[in-house]
């Protein structure tokens, strides 16, 4: 009962097999040639395999067994908030009148859906301390882009065409990329020795060319930006706007709100803080919440309530425009609201407190084994560095060896300002035994690193595949199957 080696779909192509049933046609059949003439397809569909339903089910069931997932154990990817994904969310997102609505249906036939979105917007405002919210962005990065666009549209509406966005060197790569695609030049702000922004340096730098700052709070080291209120003041005083990357909101629900500090806009990753499934890479949702001065610029349409009925308002002349073909990743929004309603305000607060507790527990238990990237107090995650790993063992080796111990490795080599970063975010949904199991595994690996380094360097040994050759893959890219 080792894992079954499953070939590629194309190697299983078996002409004559049928995997789905097409209903009989109750109207006269029209041939594509008759309809499209020369435009009708002549090329064969070489890569659509013919398989029976059982072939398909087995193929993907077998593939699934090569994966690790949250439902199997700790998945401590820092900055990704790999929480437990509640099963109730999946039930409600599959109700016929929720899963199967056409986005262009008359408003009278989707009142339940609009009420749901409106309720979620209000909840996100309450959590972030903001005034308005758009649910359109499909993920965090699109939320960032939307938020920076809001800033730019607002500043331009004030006749203020600043060109620079400040971003700390600890930031996630999406921040500079999102600023760049909003037409801003990115200027990196060096972190001080305590992992925070150097307030004095910021004061010195702030000027009329700076449109604003993008800050992750707590930052990617898990450290709360201690001068955040002051920073907001400095930026505002200089005529700029403050963007908060809400990827780490899980550290502070009910504890602290960007809106209260003076932040102007933030995005929220529903697939992190609000338990929607990560799905092997997505889909997520990255709603943007902002202060009222930015509201006129939000993506359109927006939900309004008129005479007790919900409606879409498209007449938003100052809107930055749409960022999504329809209204956002609705079925993800449904799950997030279901989670928020499950937890209530107190429950969310408690979640953040326990997320902080779990991370600090791991920190305390490993701090004598691995050096910290930065020393200061941390909240929901902890970042170690590779200093002192013996016998040439790297962060990557440690990560790969964790696979053999039955864990997903932490985020590695990020943030960039920590050498060989090992970034651990356990989240509040991990029981303490699982944390202990993980801590013990790390300790055992460190022992192996000292005593039997080859074992670690050649890990993983028990996964479906041994270490894979990234370099070869990139040198000679094979992105599609060729027999």
């Amino acid at each position: 009962m080792s894992r079954i080696e499953e070939k590629l779909l194309f190697e299983k192509d078996h002409p004559g097999r049928v995997g789905a049933s097409v209903p009989p046609c109750d109207v006269p059949e029209v041939s594509p040639e008759a309809a499209f003439g020369a435009l009708a397809r002549k090329a064969p569909l070489t890569r659509l395999p013919e398989m029976s339903e059982v072939d398909v089910v087995r193929h993907f069931t077998r593939l699934s067994t090569y994966n690790y997932a949250v439902d199997m154990g700790l998945y401590p990817l820092g900055s990704c908030t790999m929480k437990y994904n509640p099963k109730l969310n999946e039930e409600v997102a599959r109700l016929e009148g929720i899963a199967r609505l056409h986005p262009m249906q008359p408003e009278s036939t989707v009142q339940g859906a609009l009420e749901l979105m409106d309720t979620l917007q209000k909840a996100l405002c309450a959590i972030s301390g903001m005034d308005a919210c758009s649910l359109q962005p499909s993920a965090g990065a699109q939320g960032e882009f939307t938020g920076v666009q809001l800033i730019r549209a607002y500043l331009e509406s004030q006749g203020d065409a600043r060109k620079i966005i400040l971003i700390p060197d600890s930031a996630h790569g999406t921040n500079p990329a999102s600023a760049h695609f909003s037409g801003y030049a990115v200027e990196e702000v060096k972190s001080a020795a305590d992992g925070c922004i150097d307030l004095e340096a910021l004061k010195a730098r702030m000027g009329p060319d700076v449109a604003g700052i993008m800050l992750t709070v707590p930052n990617t080291l898990g450290i709360f930006e201690k001068n955040i209120v002051e920073i907001c003041k400095v930026i505002h005083a200089g005529g700029g706007q403050v963007y908060v990357d809400g990827a780490n909101l899980n550290a502070m629900m009910g504890l602290a709100r960007p809106g209260d500090w003076g932040a102007d806009v933030m995005h929220i990753n529903l697939h992190k803080t609000f338990t929607t499934p990560h799905g092997g890479g997505g889909p997520g949702a990255g709603p943007v919440a902002c202060k009222s001065h930015l509201e006129p610029f939000l993506p359109r349409p927006v939900i309004v309530k008129r005479d007790g009925r919900y409606a879409w308002d498209c007449d938003r002349p100052r809107s930055i425009g749409k960022v999504h073909g329809f209204f956002g990743n609705f079925l993800i929004l449904v799950r997030a609201l279901c989670y928020i309603e499950t937890m209530g305000g107190e429950g969310l607060k408690k979640s953040s407190e326990l997320a902080v507790l779990n991370a600090n527990y791991i920190r305390a238990r490993l701090k004598d084994d691995l050096p910290l990237g930065f020393d200061g107090p941390t909240l929901h995650e902890v970042v170690f560095c590779d200093k002192g790993l013996p016998n040439g063992i790297t962060t990557m080796d440690l990560a790969k060896r964790l696979i053999d111990y039955g864990f997903h490795p932490p985020t590695v080599y990020f943030p960039l300002i920590v050498h060989g970063a090992i970034m651990i975010e356990p989240t509040e949904t991990e029981p303490v035994e699982e944390l202990d199991r993980f801590v013990n595994a790390v300790k055992a690996i460190l022992k192996e690193a000292a005593e039997d380094p080859e074992l670690v360097k050649s890990a993983p040994h028990t996964a479906y595949r041994r270490r894979l050759d990234d370099v070869a893959a990139a040198r000679n890219p094979k992105l599609t199957y060729k027999p």
Binding site: L8, G19, A20, V22, C25, D26, P32, F36, L39, A40, K42, A43, L45, R47, E50, M51, Y66, N67, A69, D71, N85, V92, E96, P103, P106, G140, Q149, H172, T174, P176, F224, N227, I228, G254, G280, G281, G286, G321, V323, G325, F327, G328, N329, I340, T342, M343, G345, E346, L348, K350, E353, A399, P431, V432, A463, R467, L468, D469, A473, L479
Partner: protein, 448 residues
């Protein structure tokens, strides 16, 4: 609270190990002035059984195409999703994993991406595909950024017949980057006006975007469009596909002169979902591979020489290249990509073609049934499963009448095209019966 395993006893023990006396201690690094001093203004926690009933109530306050045949398309087509798909998606190993950063424990996800890329490249007649983008609209916008990187020009000519929302997102994405987005009108046949297109060409044009089929359901003559672009500093030709099922019946854009295909593959096994999550994609020729936005999966070998898959060409991406990345995208539409992969494997080349023929046939039948009632198409060009007609009354009114007969009517074209007031876009998929078509024709034919 069932999602929070820490008991009071656990908390006490963990605090002890940390050497803190309370959780509050651990929060001390949040300055007082940044702390929230009151409870969140949210309702209290709701117990699971009660909450489930609440969603049932919300659900029944909507009316889904299950009970009402749906003639709405406009970028979201009502197709059936075979039962195995959702049950396979729910396998926790797929559902509760993330981006395959650690390939050794994510070969399931990676192999599926590789399969998806292969099938999408094949369907569109291209060499390579990315591993998904958010949706058709943002994929179209990303295509413009990509074309600019390849061609360097900053003008994009986009057919006015491309999906209005896609065009709007294109504008949002490019507005602050110094792009010029110029619309190319359509002719009587609903196709892009080639004369106007040629007139608009300039060396700064990096990309020409044409819907295929376009928003009016009309199949463009891509080859003719491509031919009209010949010349120095030739722009790229991008086909925008918002009904991916059409790919089964049309000669692939790659074989008709397109340099890239961008669009929406939601029709492949995803639910309508009130507009999301959907499944954006871009496919292109080998030469442009390194300019693709989004994740790419590539084949490699493991330490024992066995075939395996990894995310590759990551130097294009934001986590490495930061502001110089080809896109800011990080989380993508992984599970939707998996659904499409399962869908395409289930349908196979024959199933997909049969289904597409049926869509074509239903739409042609509906066209005929409407013609018999005096309602004629707005455009003369060939269409797949959607077409525009001129209604005798305001389409919004017509839709109300349809709703009374338990039919979800079409899309009011005046919303995106003031010049087409009275125009209505009707889609007919395999899920509308002949009877439903006849009923719609009767309702619409009876108005005036």
């Amino acid at each position: 609270m069932r999602y929070l395993p820490a008991s009071e006893e656990d908390i006490r023990k963990m605090l002890g190990a940390i050497g803190a006396s309370s959780v509050e201690d651990l929060l001390a690094s949040i300055p007082k002035e940044a702390r929230l001093q009151k409870p969140l203004d949210l309702p209290e926690a709701v117990a699971e059984p009660v909450l489930r009933e609440r969603y049932v109530t919300r659900s029944v306050r909507n009316s889904s195409p299950t009970c009402r045949p749906c003639f709405l398309g406009a970028g979201a087509y009502d197709h059936y999703s075979p039962a195995p798909i959702d049950q396979l998606l729910l396998r926790a190993e797929f559902f509760t994993a993330y981006t395959p950063y650690q390939p050794e424990m994510a070969q399931g996800t990676l192999q599926a991406i590789f399969e998806f890329q292969t099938m999408m490249a094949d369907l569109t007649g291209m060499d390579v595909s990315n591993a998904s983008l958010y949706d058709g609209a943002s994929a179209t916008a990303e295509a413009a950024l990509m074309a600019h990187r390849i061609h360097k020009g900053k003008t994009v000519l986009v057919a006015r017949s491309v999906h209005p929302a896609y065009r709007e997102v294109l504008r949002t994405y490019t507005r602050r980057l110094g792009f010029t987005i110029q619309e190319v009108p359509f002719g009587q046949d609903g196709r892009v006006d080639l004369g106007a297109l040629k007139a608009a060409l300039s060396p700064d044009v990096c990309l020409v975007l044409v819907g295929d089929p376009n928003f009016f359901g009309v199949v463009e003559d891509l080859q003719a469009v491509a031919a009209s672009l010949e010349g120095a500093k030739k722009p790229l030709l991008g086909a925008v596909v918002s009904e991916a099922l059409s790919l089964a019946l049309l000669e692939p854009p790659g074989a008709r002169g397109a340099d890239l295909v961008c669009g929406e593959a939601r029709s492949f096994g995803l639910s309508l979902g009130f507009g999301g999550p959907y499944l954006g994609f871009i496919t292109t020729k080998q030469a442009h591979m390194r300019q693709l936005p989004g994740r790419l999966c590539g084949e490699t070998v493991d330490a024992e020489g066995r075939r395996g898959f990894v995310l590759t060409l990551t130097t294009r991406e934001q986590h490495i290249r930061r502001e110089k990345a080809t896109s800011n995208i990080c989380t993508n539409e992984g599970l939707c990509m998996l659904a499409a992969t399962i869908y395409l494997a289930s349908m196979g080349r024959k199933g997909l073609r049969d289904l597409a023929v049926q869509n074509l046939s239903k739409a042609e039948y509906l066209k005929g049934a409407l013609k018999a009632k005096g309602i004629t198409p707005l455009f003369s060009g060939p269409t797949f499963n959607e077409f525009a007609v001129k209604l005798p009354v305001d389409p919004a009114k017509a839709n109300e009448a349809a709703l009374k007969s338990d039919l979800l009517g079409g899309y009011d074209l005046s919303k995106g095209y003031p010049e087409l007031a009275g125009g209505c876009l009707l889609a007919a998929t395999e899920r509308v019966s002949k009877l439903a078509c006849d009923r719609l024709a009767a309702v619409l034919g009876g108005l005036s």
